[in-house]
């Protein structure tokens, strides 16, 4: 049985090491961040459905806004920013 590969991403500028196969959402939660974005009236929001339909888990990935973090796998060097 082989060890999972470790990849390095950054979340809000902070370097994080995750196992390959980890989603961006999991990487964010691993940092202890529970608020991924602000709703249209400014409420803090985080993932709800885990399967790409609620759009609450959206973050900016490599400068592209509105990425669904629960359906995006971490890749080496990825820059993840939450909307805070």
């Amino acid at each position: 049985m082989c060890m999972p590969e470790i990849i390095h991403v950054s979340v809000n500028g902070i370097a994080v090491a995750v196992e390959s196969g980890t989603t961006v959402a999991a990487a964010v939660l691993q940092c202890g961040i529970s608020s991924f974005r602000r709703s249209v009236t400014g409420e803090p929001r985080g993932p709800l459905c885990g399967m790409g339909i609620c759009f609450e888990c959206r973050v900016t990935v490599d400068r592209l806004a509105h990425a669904k973090s629960c359906q995006t796998l971490c890749t080496p060097g990825m820059e993840i920013t939450t909307d805070e």
Binding site: V40, L64, A65, H66
Partner: protein, 374 residues
């Protein structure tokens, strides 16, 4: 309903609702009859622009008059109407279009409409997300945008506060003196107004109004991407054509930060289903002008039916066949803009007031004797 009204308006779209408010404020006893949702027809599909147009003297007259009414009303409008004084920028892609810009500038400024020619550099500064290589543009700062369904609802609610009655029901026949409703009841009224837009010929057989289908796409929220409404000069060619399908670049920032992308026109399309070829063409054209749109998330796509007349001007006034059946319809792509002006001109005629602008170009009885409109 046993009481008799002075005016019964069929259709609570933005035009009907505006007319109802104007009637009520003129102390006419008015009923407005709506079969579905207030502002739910073409009003709901519309882009919501309020724009001065120079297509013809009559069109200019009505759009400018109406726009000024909107600008005066803006302080009363609640937040959900989302009135935004975005201005319009008419974009020129080549020298031909740039000379059209200069003509437009002369036309507007000589008639008291503030306008400013922008060269390529100024255009870039005004709208950084437009593609490089555009020659220039005309900025018309007093144009605006609103969210039409809530505007129609607000107008209808204000009308009710001033004494108008909102009747839920489907009108199936208009007679001089009454409106028959599908449930068997009838509204009796001295005067009946057909304000049902693309469906007007159903209630007034023979009306020369054709459906002109349009598609729209709205994106997710991207605040700051777009500041003004943008229209290509070719828009006029598209609106001009009386026979073929066409698309023209037209985008609008919404108060929510969403970008509304239009516009398209088709004759002879009776179904409201999305036509991929048209939408794809419309979006491709939009991306030519603003490449960054391509990567933006499109949330929703929809269609609507504009009410088009042969001479591209609306019908405001008594119908030709029956003096007690009036028309307030046929606004094509300018219903939102000219709703308030239409209401004024309609009520001016009803109560015998002097109008701020000549009414003849919009009278249903206009044109030669051979052309019978109703």
């Amino acid at each position: 309903m046993r009481q008799t009204f002075d005016v019964a308006i069929v259709g609570a779209g933005i035009v009907g609702a505006a007319c109802a408010l104007e009637c009520a404020q003129a102390e006419l006893k008015v009923a407005i009859i709506e079969s579905s949702i207030v502002g739910g027809g073409a009003t709901a599909a519309a882009m919501g622009h309020i724009v001065a147009m120079d297509d013809s003297e009559a069109q200019f007259s009505l759009t400018r008059f109406s726009q000024q009414l909107w600008n005066t009303l803006r302080t009363e409008l609640p937040r959900e109407v989302e009135f935004e004084l975005t201005g319009t920028i008419w974009v020129a892609a080549d020298e031909d279009e740039m000379s059209a810009v200069r003509n437009k500038n002369r036309y507007f400024t000589s008639r008291g409409v503030p306008a400013e020619v922008l060269d390529a550099a100024a255009l870039k500064q005004a709208e950084p997300n437009l593609r490089p290589g555009l020659v220039g543009a005309l900025l018309v700062p007093e144009d605006s945008v609103i969210y039409p369904p809530t505007a129609a609802r607000w107008l209808a609610e204000r009308a009710q506060q001033c004494g108008a009655s909102l009747v839920r029901g489907k009108a199936i026949r208009l007679r001089g003196g009454s409106v028959e409703i599908a449930d068997g009841t009838a509204i009796s009224s001295s005067l009946v107004v057909n304000a049902t837009g693309a469906w007007a010929p159903e209630l007034t057989p023979g009306l020369e109004i054709r459906k002109r289908k349009g598609h729209l796409v709205i994106t997710d929220r991207y605040s700051g991407f777009l500041r003004h409404q943008l229209v290509e000069l070719g828009y006029l060619k598209s609106a001009h054509s009386v026979t073929s399908d066409s698309c023209a670049f037209n985008v609008q920032p919404r108060a929510t930060g969403q970008i509304l992308i239009g516009s398209s026109r088709q004759y002879g399309a009776e179904h409201s289903a999305i036509d991929h070829k048209i939408v794809a063409g419309m979006l491709a054209r939009a991306c030519e002008y603003m490449p960054a749109l391509g990567k933006m998330a499109a949330v929703r796509c929809w269609t609507g039916f504009r009410a088009a007349t042969p001479d591209k001007l609306p019908l405001i006034g008594p119908s030709v066949t029956d003096q007690k059946i009036w028309l307030a319809t046929g606004h094509e792509g300018l219903g939102i803009t000219t709703s308030l002006g239409t209401a004024k001109l309609l009520v001016d005629q009803i109560v015998g007031r002097r109008s701020a602008i000549p009414i003849e170009p919009y009278l249903p009885a206009r044109g030669s004797r051979e052309h019978v409109y109703a």
